[in-house]
Amino acid sequence: MSSRLSSGGRLLDRSTSVAFEFNGRKLKGYAGDTLASALLGNDQMLVGRSFKYHRPRGIVAAGPEEPNALMNLGKGGHFEPNARATTTEIFPGLTAQSQNHWPSLEMDVGVLNNYASRFMPAGFYYKTFIHPRAAWKHLFEPFIRKAAGLGKAPKDRDADTYEHFYSFVDVLVVGGGIAGLQAAKNAGEAGLKVLLLEQTPHWGGRAPVDGAIIDGQPAEIWISSTVQALENMPNVTLRTRTMGAGVYDHGYALGYERLTDHLAPSTAPRHRLWRIRTKQIITATGALERPLSFAGNDIPGVMLAASVRDYIVNHGVSAGDRTVIVTNNDDAYRTALVLKDAGLDVPMVIDARPDGGGPLMDACKEKGIRVETGKAIAKVKGGKRVQGIVLCSQAGAGGMLEEVACDAVAMSGGWSPVVHLWSHCGGKLNWDDKTACFRPDHTRPPLGATGEGFVTVAGSADGEQSSGDCLSNAVMRTNDVIEALGASPQSTTAPQADTEPMAAMAAVWKMPQGAGYELRSKMWLDYQNDVKVSDVQLAAQEGFESVEHTKRYTTLGMATDQGKLSNINGLAILADSLNADIPQVGTTTFRPPYHPISLGAIAGEASREIFQPIDKTPLHEWGEANGAYWEPVGHWRRAYCYQKPGESIEDAVNREVKAVRDSLGLLDASTLGKIIVKGPDAGKFLDMMYTNLMSTLKPGKCRYGLMCTENGFLTDDGVVARIDDDTWLCHTTTGGASRIHGHMEEWLQTEWWDWKVYTANVTEQFAQVAVVGPNARKVLEKLGGMDVSKDALGFMEWKEGKIGGFDARVFRISFSGELSYEIAVPASQGRAFWDALWDAGQEFNVTPYGTECLHVLRAEKGFIMIGDETDGTVIPQDLGLNWALSKKKEDYLGKRAQQRDHMTDPNRWKLVGLESIDGSVIPDGAYAVGTGLNENGQRNTEGRITSTYYSANLNKGIAMGLILNGPDRMGDVITFPKIDGSEVKAKIVDPVFYDKDGEKQNV
């Protein structure tokens, strides 16, 4: 059984006990524990179930490479699935639940898959769930959905906050082990701006666990004095609990800081995403130990040898009382020595190498530990817990030599440098036969903006093995970086560290060498996704020769650990099966992040009320206080209608529609874009921008204009007012202001840069109110100021002056067909102006109206709306707007495109009005069906609805639509099927439903 030792644990504060909960059980750990070490300390070796076969799973590792110990953490708004117990620090009140089992961890029905595993080899799902097709919906999919997924999806909104931080440095050092510390020190001493990130809460990495001696003292002393020195350098920033998550183009890197994960819920941000721009990156990210592939290597109690050592040294926790060690290299002997020193039993070290190891092996033998060389584990005995192993010869097929009782197995298959960050942006790797791992090829680094390499690798991430080599490598690599940045290295000597001679490791990819199918089908490569040696061999046999294909076929390395333990072992098996060398097979692509990061961190501050910017007009607050029902229009919020207490939205719209035509309405039109265009060439420029002539507009006059893109399609419309000889004011649609301003600037800057034109977007300088209805003039006259009579300010004219004491520009334009003035006042006075209109309008039953009323009014008049009648495929000719296409101009944006065959096709659908025969409102977007069927056997269509409303003024449904030969078919009745299967018939009519002669606006 795993247990807490009575002493030891260099990271532990035994005076502070910490209560936490696992699967509802109250357990105790100590400050300094990870959730994994605390669980082991409570003899909780079984921590989860595998994905496919639901096999019992125990803790394998002590860091981010852990594939098994995934937990649902927290509750409510702090719930998070798939958290690794090995990277989770415990705090009082932590709650954790194991995953992927039902009804319980100990008793799991899904384990039936395990007994059927013979029949579920690689590609099982691809091969099986194909036919019959009908079974998908009711049988396969519900089954797979229930079986799939590890943790549960959170149900509540995330209660935490997150943020970003932009950091600019010369050198980013990732990894705070001894190599990273040394690199940061050298770079800092050279005067460079340095950021050093360490993913764990502790500096120094493995060196203290491995008992390294640096400059004649225990590593811990060197580490603390180096950290001290770094903290004293103003040009160096250090961060623990911050992982270097990814390396991206042009020196961009992400750091993932976990601020409060180790604390009870707090108000501080939970995670901070460091968005780093750096000139150079040094990754000192260490190495990960690989498992060995022997039958039953997934049984809880089988762990990585160095991790067994970590738990003892760091947390005073033993994985078992009797631990068998199995290895192909010298490092695992350190674990044997640590176990022995802790007073635990090591019945045997099984070394696959015929000649065994070097001085570390000798040290073990001196302690009386039995060492068996040239041997292997044939299989592990046990179910939910290791009970023993069967010893065999590595060279054979697994014949039993003897059985050894034990409750833990510590395995070491050698070390893989963590080359992820080096590779994210294209750094290349070389296979090193001697250490059986991929190492960075420093002649082929990832290239930055200048075409030079911007990432280097130091320490054991570079393939170094001993503390001494790691330190001298770090000095060498860092000095290269310092020189590349034009600075001077201050020191070329590395601290002295012990460099124990080690015997060469041996590449052992399966154990024993000649294992038959029975054993190979119990050798796990990927613990989380249940991929075994036999699966990869099957994939190779079935022709999946590319490592990328094999990965996807078998799901090797596709779990949340992204194959940190399994990839190299898997591709070695693949290479072996293909009779190829490992470098020929190559690796799968390393992609960021190195370890999963939270979506919250990526979103940063963009959550809740600041998820997106919301544009508010100066009259927004009035709307809030007066029943505005908001709708988003671009980033703006506009009132859809203003509801009176107890009133439905529909009733509010109908009331507003009638009130405007009967008496007086006010519309907040501040969102309309307003762009000043000025200069000697402004007229010429606007003639290119708009389809109609703007250069001939007289000062004081307004003209409605259309804008198209070079594709010929309508992109915007609005009223243009000429201010003076060389100044125009262009109104755009709501939400179109910055887009159209950008459109104008693009043409001015990149095509007609010799034209003398300046533009300015003054949209927000003004609050604009549309004063609309038969009493519009009366209310303005009541406020007093400029003469707004028909003679002084005619239709499509504008004037500047005072209204009710406010500085105002008054435009006599109408989007409703009513007598209408659009009045712009400085935004700071918008609210005061509106209030003045409101007070003065009381005697006229003044009614504020929203966008839906605006839509109904314009539809009654047959006015088009960009975004309703247009959708990016509609040209002005489709809408009967030929009158707005200047025939005098040689050119305008879109003119040539409108001459293309498809645009001049007489069969293009054209705009008409539509009246349902039964008076109902035709569904928006409905298609009209014609005769016959198309090649897919569907009914041919002959048009569609673009706008459709109930008109309270006309007491019936009215619509506009684009219909085949529409304008030539007045009076025809066409059919619109509805989604419920019924149909509505509609008559093609003129799109102007109300006041066809335009008398109301011309008073």
Partner: protein, 188 residues
């Protein structure tokens, strides 16, 4: 006019720095040839400051000039003087191809005060805010979270930030979140 109000009417928040909306400020956009002698003289005469260098600003209390782009300045003044100065500058530039327009009400201005003002901006803008990179006299147009903004140092512990009026509420909420106590970074 006495009934003129800014977007948030001077709202403020005390986090680990102070954030305050500054009320109405006068702002004038000038587009023109910034290298022309006429423009330089006109700006100096009307606003009392020189045309600033690229990405810089020249400030004199509430008055000043900031470089927006190669053919655009943002001129600062007291709000109530903006219209008058637009008229004077337009007159001074008569005959020159230039555009002068009052944009005072199109903007909102925030002041950030405290030792950590640089850090709060560094949470929101992709800009190197370290003391040796962002200096007094710099005027930076960038984005704050998801909205365009420009900012400059009034002094070493004061940053003024200009954005569009319509997003003043968003900006205030973003600054409030970024300056909340407990979120200090201490890394500049």
């Amino acid at each position: 006019m006495s009934n003129a109000v800014s977007a948030l009417q001077g709202v403020s928040h005390a986090g680990y720095i102070d954030v305050e909306e500054m009320g109405l400020r006068g702002m004038v956009t000038l587009r023109g040839d910034l290298t022309s002698a006429n423009v330089k003289i006109a700006v100096k005469t009307v606003f009392g400051v020189s045309v600033p260098d690229v990405t810089k600003c020249a400030l004199q209390g509430e008055t000043g000039a900031a470089w927006m782009s190669p053919d655009e300045l943002l001129l600062l003044c007291p709000h109530e003087r903006a219209e008058e100065l637009v008229a004077s500058l337009s007159e001074a530039l008569a005959g020159e191809h230039a555009l002068v327009v009052n944009v005072s009400d199109a903007r909102a201005v925030f002041q950030l005060r405290g030792a950590a003002v640089r850090e709060v901006i560094a949470k929101l803008a992709p800009v190197d805010m370290s003391p040796n990179a962002f200096l007094l006299g710099h005027f930076r147009r960038s984005r704050i979270a998801q909205t365009p903004a420009a900012f400059f140092l009034r002094d070493e512990t004061t940053i003024e930030l200009i954005c569009f009026r319509s997003v003043a509420g968003y900006m205030f909420d973003v600054l409030k979140r970024a300056s909340s106590r407990g979120s200090e970074v201490n890394a500049l």
